[in-house]
Subunit: 221 residues, 2 copies
């Protein structure tokens, strides 16, 4: 399955500003992107990075500086339309299904992504913590996105407007996006890739303070 991985190449992970400086946020975001793309490949998917600015990456990169919603909807248009190109340099074949998986799903595993790719439904939605939409599969050319606060509710409605076959995938690993400082500890607890290694090498460890554990930076590299 072709898998679009949107990536903010301009100011990634700005909500982690209390934990990481801009250079670190960029490096951490790229580690997560690489983890997601690797997991997609191992799950049998064909990742294309949809970046807001040019980036160096081993995978195909499509640059689109439009806001996320417009960029993803344009990618959906291209993918489902004959003769348009999804990736640079080649006239891609139109697809009959497409996945979009966010680049900050640092807990994503091949097994979780296989479940997504194999899930029944014309539209398969994966909610994110706090009402976002972390991933989806569309098997209809008519589904369009609208990313904003609480987008999962609108995406449920958008999907229901174009098909009777809307499902949701129940996956902690795909519903946990790494946006807020409290999310970082999930990478330390459950991550298995470059992002978890990056955090450990940057001095983060798991600390308990009564209640849920947190990620705390105990040393600078």
């Amino acid at each position: 399955m072709r898998v679009v991985v949107p990536f903010d190449a301009t100011s990634p992970k700005s909500r982690l500003g209390s934990l990481l400086d801009a250079t670190e946020r960029d490096a951490f975001a790229r580690a997560m992107l690489d983890d997601v793309c690797s997991a997609v490949e191992t799950a049998g998917g064909d990742p294309v990075v949809l970046a807001s600015a040019p980036i160096d990456n081993d995978r195909p990169v499509v640059v689109d500086d439009q806001p996320l919603t417009d960029a993803v909807n344009a990618a959906l248009d291209r993918a489902f339309t004959a003769g348009e190109r999804l990736s640079p340099g080649g006239a891609g074949e139109p697809v009959d299904e497409l996945a979009v998986v966010m680049a900050d799903l640092a807990l994503a595993t091949p097994a979780a992504l296989e479940r997504l790719f194999d899930a029944d439904g014309e539209v398969v939605l994966v909610p994110g913590l706090g009402g976002g939409t972390n991933a989806f599969v569309s098997r209809t050319p008519d589904f369009r996105v609208d990313y904003h606060d609480g987008s999962i509710r609108d995406h449920r409605a958008n999907a229901a407007a174009v098909t009777d076959s809307v499902t949701e995938l129940d996956s902690f690993r795909l519903s946990t996006d790494v946006d807020d400082p409290a999310d970082v500890v999930e990478v330390l607890l459950h991550g298995e890739g470059r992002a978890a290694t990056w955090l450990r090498e940057a001095g983060f460890t798991v600390t308990a303070s009564g209640g849920r554990v947190e990620a705390q930076r105990v040393k600078q590299p």
Copy 2:
């Protein structure tokens, strides 16, 4: 499958004190407990509430005022040991598998619990947000729990010490426990039972403030 549902009947959901007063926390916690027990039953499970103090409930209730870890380990002992009683009034048969599912999993659905009950593994762990352990199935009499901050890591080690067959279930609905104020919005977004209804009737709604959505109380009942 027999399913132990531990419930803090003494001061439930104290970390929601900024949102709900003590009477409300008690009512909300009981709504979640009922949702969990109903979902367990629909999934084919046989729930037993393990309460820290006597409560009125339609299901069998075992009262144990020990700390959670000791109470659950005692329940494991009773369940796997012939001649001991799991529920009051009857000499229960010893089991060869037992599930423990926390009472604050307000997003739990029968489908998610069926996946848990059917999952392969001598010990099947379900992590909670922030390093907790929201549920597990044990098919060995030797696994014991130690609930505390970040317990999932110790439970992985405890399980690995008694069996080579340790798995984890990947479920957003079971990994989302309702402990902190930020969790309440997940019930409004995804809950389908009494707890979601209770919140709406108590005046809670979903609000956006840039980033993840939140639950805000817009009126008092």
